[in-house]
């Protein structure tokens, strides 16, 4: 049962829909060097979310940083079925978007990517999120959102 939900609008960088547990990173992360491309596990030492997996999550990601190899890591996560269900970015970053564009050129299904303005990023609090094109619905219980 969904106790409460709220909605946030984002700008579509890569269209699609997806839902999963909301994983909001509390520190910047480079996919390359930060995420295991086979499993989606966060491997960066010192990272507050080290050990968690981004696979199947709605990954909220205020600051993508670091390596330009992160496009490859995202493509490989998609190829291995270990990609996030959706990605919410707080910064316009070409590196992750290109991973999704190439996945589509290769006939793979890429997770939606949305850009969230800084002012709205703090509203991303909850346990579960659903992304459908530009609309994000956040649920407070750890279960799929069945109604809005």
């Amino acid at each position: 049962m969904v106790l409460s939900t709220h909605a946030i609008a984002g700008r579509v960088l890569c269209p699609g829909s997806g839902q999963g547990p909301l994983l909001k990173l509390s520190a910047p992360l480079s996919f390359w060097g930060g995420v295991d491309p086979a499993t989606g596990r966060i491997i960066l030492d010192h990272h507050p979310e080290r050990g968690l997996s981004i696979a199947g999550t709605v990954l909220a990601f205020e600051k993508p940083i670091g390596s330009s190899s992160s496009s490859s890591v995202l493509l490989e996560l998609i190829h291995n079925g270990a990609a996030p269900a959706a990605i919410l970015l707080g910064d316009l970053d070409a590196i992750l978007i290109v991973g999704c564009l190439v996945a589509k050129e290769l006939g793979l299904s890429a997770p939606p990517v949305l850009y969230i303005e800084e002012a709205h990023f703090s509203k991303l609090t909850g346990k579960w999120a659903s992304v459908d094109n530009g609309a994000i619905t956040i649920g407070c219980s750890l279960a799929p959102i069945t109604s809005i």
């Binding site: 060097g33 600051k63 940083i65 670091g66 330009s68 190899s69 190829h79 070409a94 992750l96 564009l101």
Partner: protein, 416 residues
Amino acid sequence: MRLTSEEREIAAGAQGPARAMAMRIVAEAGSLLGADCLIPIHSAHIDGCLYHGDSGVLFAERLVEQGGRVAVPSTLNVGALDLLHPNRVKLDSHRRTMALRLMRAYEALGCKPTWTCSPYQAGHRPPLGVDVAWGESNAVAFCNSVLGARTNRYGDFLDIACAIIGRAPRYGLHLPENRRAILLIDTTRLSERLRSLDAFWPVLGAWIGRTAGNRVVAVNGLQQFATEDRMKALGAAAASFGAVGLFHIIGVTPEAGTTDDAFVGLPPEETVVLTPDMVRTARSWLGTASGETVDAVAVGSPHLSYDEMATIADLLAGRRVTLPFYAHTGRHVVRQLEASGRLREIEAAGVTIVTDTCIVVTPILPGNSGVLLTNSGKFANYAPGNTGWYVVYGSLKECIETAVRGKLVRNEELWS
């Protein structure tokens, strides 16, 4: 995004399927990033040749099968294999085969097999003010900052796509208004001894990376201390700890002759005065190990220049290392070292020279864990996650003395 009629025809397949796919990727990425049009590029540096899994090989071989060919001079970043020393890398046979297929595919697209993350020291130095499309975060920072050529941080795939069509989206650091400094970092309160220490520069880079994010910084107080290799080390750390694509060193880098040049006459939005405490804090980010044990030493991220390799030979001064010591460089430097006779000297000291790749991108280090001493901010940042090793950060001299004596040698006074 306005595409010309020729660009639209390319996207529709008029010049073959590879150029069509490349044009679609560049145009779509550019449009999402807010570019208004595409601009011609002078060269490219391609980071996509490093094996991360089979999907990247599928993409590169698709381009080759479809007749893809780079339209501008393009150098290649590191791969997952050391082609000059095949036994260095311990990949299983599937990964080894796929990593080699990937490297060969990028060569087949017409890229130069430079296999280095320091292409700017392998003869690839675009002039001030030209537009290029470079990948590899340290190379991007160097290209923008030290050379003054203009590139965004092109990720894997977008780099080769730009190279194939010879164009890049016009946005970000291609636009002069985005190249001006926003944040002023004042280092004049730090001692001259600290600023003249090679090991200070990656620490400053790490601090800039964490603090600046992707804001353009200008640093003052470094005019008499900046060298090309120090700026390379700073940029590599700043780009891996943050998203720094451009920094200015006032009085040194080409777009920052004066503070006014760097800030285009506007006041800095923020000024930070660096203190020795802040430097010590940033230095602590570069280490994960405590204690006196060191199991191996690695230097050379980015790949060492000829001068840096010669310094290693000078510091060794005929002594042998007793710990595994990995020195990473490009084949362009190995050729020079061979010609000058210093290669034999370095190898005779027991140093393992790694070319074409490095320890944080492919399995080279012995075993799954240990303590690694390095003078590279980038190795210090990536080694724990990518190799499972703990790291200790030190100067090149500390790296050499530790490797020779077999136990950690540090000089804490340097940081006071």
